[in-house]
């Protein structure tokens, strides 16, 4: 297997250092090991786990109905991709997440901006939002199903609901945290209200808003998993529930892996956004 070969090369890379692991206290080792060795070591552990899983599954210690071998999951993935159904379900899921994210994100951004700017809007809106926020939004699921049935509406609503809160809170916070001295400077330089928002307040609030986006992406994903698990006719969640009926643990594990991969990808996109939009920020921008 390729996995086994990788582990072998990893161990051969610095066999001496790895051997030292046992002999010396940890701190001394961290000091002696180079960056590369540490990187190899950090990858070695998960790879060893996967290989152990593969071996246990193949030798029959792990029943395929409990946990199929990783190779079997990969095989299933390639079959499903070739038949076209996996990509189709994936597209359906991504579309639900995207639509829900845009709707919920817009609501959160608009409300958050209003409340961030205006004491009146804060008095009118904030308490209600905070009250609704106190409800774990997944607890609303039965109610949402009564409202929307188990169609697209229910899924998109749940995602939008989950997304709007982190965006709302971080937008409000971001606007409040803009340095009042910079706003004062804007007045001195003769900026009108619109230019003040455009040149000073929104850029100042952006780091916080983007943090909200990252939280929201994680919430969107969680909302989608839950929403799709109930009464879906398509999508990754449907794939998983359908597989459960036939005890296809390989498909179930595959859907779990896909959820994880998309979560990682979404986070990477959010990080990329931060790096692109916040080049000026000492904590995000590239090194000088």
């Amino acid at each position: 297997m390729t996995d086994i070969e990788k582990v072998a090369t990893a161990h051969e890379f610095h066999p001496a250092q790895l051997a030292e692991d046992a002999a010396f206290p940890e701190q001394a080792n961290a000091f002696e090991l180079g960056e590369l060795s540490l990187l190899v070591l950090s990858w070695a552990a998960p790879i060893v786990l996967v290989v152990a899983w593969e071996i246990l599954a193949r030798t029959g210690w792990l029943s395929p109905q409990v946990l199929p071998a990783p190779s079997k999951v990969l095989e299933t993935a390639s079959k499903l991709v070739r038949s076209g159904s996996l990509l189709e379900d994936l597209a359906v899921s991504l579309r639900r997440a995207a639509v829900g994210f845009v709707i919920g994100g817009s609501i959160g951004l608009v409300l958050g901006t209003l409340v961030g700017f205006s004491r009146i809007a804060e008095a009118a809106i904030d308490r209600s939002v905070q009250m609704v926020r106190a409800i774990p939004f997944l607890a609303l699921l039965p109610l949402v199903i009564v409202w929307f049935g188990v169609g697209e509406g229910q899924k998109i609503f749940l995602v939008a609901l989950g997304v709007s809160f982190p965006i709302y809170i971080n937008t409000t916070l971001g606007i409040r945290q803009v340095d009042p001295k910079l706003i004062e400077l804007g007045h001195i330089q003769g900026l009108d209200a619109l230019r003040l928002i455009h040149r000073i307040i929104l850029p100042g609030a952006l780091p916080s808003i983007l943090t909200g986006v990252r939280y929201a992406l994680a919430t969107a994903w969680l909302a989608l998993v839950v929403a799709e698990t109930i009464g879906a006719q398509s999508g990754i969640g449907f794939l998983a529930m359908d597989a459960r009926e036939f005890l296809r643990t390989d498909v179930i594990v595959l859907t779990i892996v896909i959820y994880a991969l998309i979560g990682v990808a979404a986070d990477a996109v959010a990080r990329l956004l931060e790096r692109r939009l916040l080049t000026w920020h000492p904590n995000y921008g590239p090194a000088r």
Binding site: L185, H187, I188, T279, H281
Partner: protein
């Protein structure tokens, strides 16, 4: 720019050479009077330094002139919106240097003008750099460029060099002197540094009890030395011993 309130009958209109005329300015926080019938006139091209103990109201005066604080009585007549440089540079960290300098500049050639202003403060090669890559002195020079690019008739400096190290401060003094000579705005420098006031100003005002208590015109080296001791005593510092 006019900040309301009944003009006193003896008010003379600001002459064509005045950068700002302040008459009978009043400001109190609750029952603590900060500005008490303060009057002041600064000509264009004149460099005025304002000394005073902490809390004597000099920053309140500057903020009133900048239009940042309300006054409760009196009159401020200034031909146009003044430019301000604060103790902190107040650069927008998300904008490049030229965009910082051009902030509020509504002209098609904003970038060229900003570039010229940056060149004037010796940072003409850093147009697209970020503020975070600047030293304290460089950042303050950008703030000066941002103030001067607006062609102000009145320039307000609120202890702009207080946070800089001694060497940088001396270089900034030279730069400011040169810039003011070239642009000829009226300047009000609020500072607590007597030597800085002597080094830069044509006229030094000492503020006390919410009004101008003493006024000096600075001249040659000799006058300056006399004034220094006098200024310090006016500020309540005992200078009878140890003065060279």
């Amino acid at each position: 720019m006019t900040l309301h309130v009944s003009p006193p009958p003896h008010l003379s209109p600001p002459g064509p050479t005045a950068a700002v005329v302040v008459t009978n300015l009043k400001r109190a926080y609750r029952d603590r009077v900060v500005l008490d019938h303060l009057s002041l006139r600064i000509e264009r091209g004149e460099f005025v330094a304002l000394l005073g103990e902490s809390g004597c109201g000099k920053t309140t005066l500057l903020r009133a002139l900048a239009g940042l604080d309300r006054v409760q009585g009196g009159l401020i007549v200034a031909p146009r919106r003044p430019a301000v440089v604060f103790q902190e540079h107040r650069l927008l960290p998300w904008d490049s240097l030229w965009r910082n300098v051009a902030l509020g500049l509504r002209a098609a050639d904003a970038r060229e003008r900003a570039a010229a202003a940056l060149a004037e403060v010796g940072l003409g090669d850093r147009l697209d750099d970020w503020p975070r890559n600047l030293s304290g002195g460089q950042a303050q020079r950008v703030a000066l460029a941002r103030a001067l690019v607006q062609q102000p008739e009145l320039l307000l400096l609120d202890e702009p060099f207080a946070a800089l190290d001694a060497l940088t401060r001396i270089r900034m003094h030279d730069l400011v002197r040169e810039l003011v000579t070239n642009h000829r705005p009226g300047v009000l420098l609020v500072t607590h540094d007597v030597d800085e006031a002597i080094a830069l100003a044509d006229r030094i005002l000492v503020m006390e009890g919410g009004a101008i208590a003493f006024e000096h015109r600075t001249g040659g080296e000799r006058t300056a030395r006399v004034t220094r001791a006098q200024l310090l005593s006016e500020l309540g510092v005992d200078v009878s011993h140890g003065l060279t």
